[in-house]
Symmetry: C2
Subunit: 217 residues, 2 copies
């Protein structure tokens, strides 16, 4: 049975790590939260441990005045439900720390074959690229960290000028707010354009509807 | 000394309550988080208790399949630092529960005279309206909950067609994603347009730059 023959997904999850970018996560999740009021969903928040995860990196170094917020995980990478269907991987400053991304890369290698869709925002695609899962696929990433992100996957067909890119079951978006356009495109694809339009209207969000238009490239 | 003579604010806070709207909070905070990497800030997350606060309402009722995420407060309303300068009040489904908003209304009455600026997103303006602080001022709110929001402050000069409204030191925005435009407008006003532009570029966010243009009104 192809994915198109299946019902739209209902089991979502997100990966968190110290130094994740808040809007990478909560842009897409706000739309999913709203959708779940009329279409029941399941949702897991995955991290290395069950301790709250901050948008601040563990060692702020030159940024002692950096502020952040902490979100509570529901599962660790080891206890992730095996029937997860859609996984969102955000970016952020923490994505540049190999010690932070190593357990995520291992988790992605293990879980990806079971997923129906993998979505990334910003430098989340660099983490996925490290796992090798994007090799031979088209993908995009944050424009401010483009050279670094692209260097994480030399065998990836990086598309610089794109709000988001879809290749098979991997959806990658450009930086930060582009994740909002990505989730509405994903919702339109899976649940129909009318559902996406309703949810964007609820959020009073002016969509960037063309994936190839990118004023930040 | 007028506010214009003072240095730009550095002490920010946000009010959380069960059933807050995720993007109301993390749209603005993402920009502040980014700004704090180059301009040191202080930030408090305020709630009735120090327990993590979910975007889900406490009693989902007809929405058992509703999903949400929980954020960790740093202070209660009672322990809020007295030198707080800027407070953000989000909206969300929880804003419609008087038991949820009652302690926030009391807190707002107490803290507002000490604040330099009060910012609201979505139905956050309805909570502030309940406190009487918007009486005689111009303000806007969420368009899907307009009649309810407006009814919370009969003495408020509600402006329906607006992405955001500034009246004195109270900045109110329309629904959900409008808070992102509000924060960039606030940053432009307080720290300069160049700072706002840089932060919007980092977030790859296409601003809605005119506060009077509102396609959702």
């Amino acid at each position: 049975m192809s994915d198109q023959d299946k019902k739209p997904p209902t089991k979502f999850g997100v990966v968190l790590f110290p130094g994740f970018q808040a809007l990478d996560v909560f842009g897409p999740l706000d739309a999913l939260n709203n959708m779940s009021r009329t279409r029941p969903l399941e949702f897991v928040i995955l991290a290395a441990t069950l301790d709250p995860v901050s948008t601040k990196v563990d060692n702020p170094g030159d940024n002692p005045g950096q502020i952040g917020q902490s979100v509570v995980p529901t599962h660790t990478f080891d206890t992730c439900p095996e029937d997860l269907e859609v996984l969102l991987v955000p970016g952020g400053f923490g994505a540049r720390d190999p010690a932070t991304t190593a357990p995520i890369v291992e988790f992605l290698k293990r879980i990806f074959p079971k997923l129906r869709h993998l979505l990334t925002v910003c430098t989340g695609s660099a983490i996925v690229a490290q796992s090798g899962l994007l090799d031979g696929r088209r993908a995009t990433s944050n424009k401010r960290r483009w050279e670094w992100a692209a260097s994480q996957g030399p065998a990836v067909h990086w598309v610089r000028e794109a709000r988001w890119v879809v290749d098979g079951n991997i959806w990658t978006s450009s930086g930060v707010s582009a994740g909002i356009d990505l989730i509405f495109a994903f919702i339109a694809d899976q649940y129909g354009e009318e559902t996406a339009k309703q949810l964007a209207d609820i959020a009073e969000y002016v969509r960037n509807p063309d994936s190839s238009v990118d004023s930040f490239a």
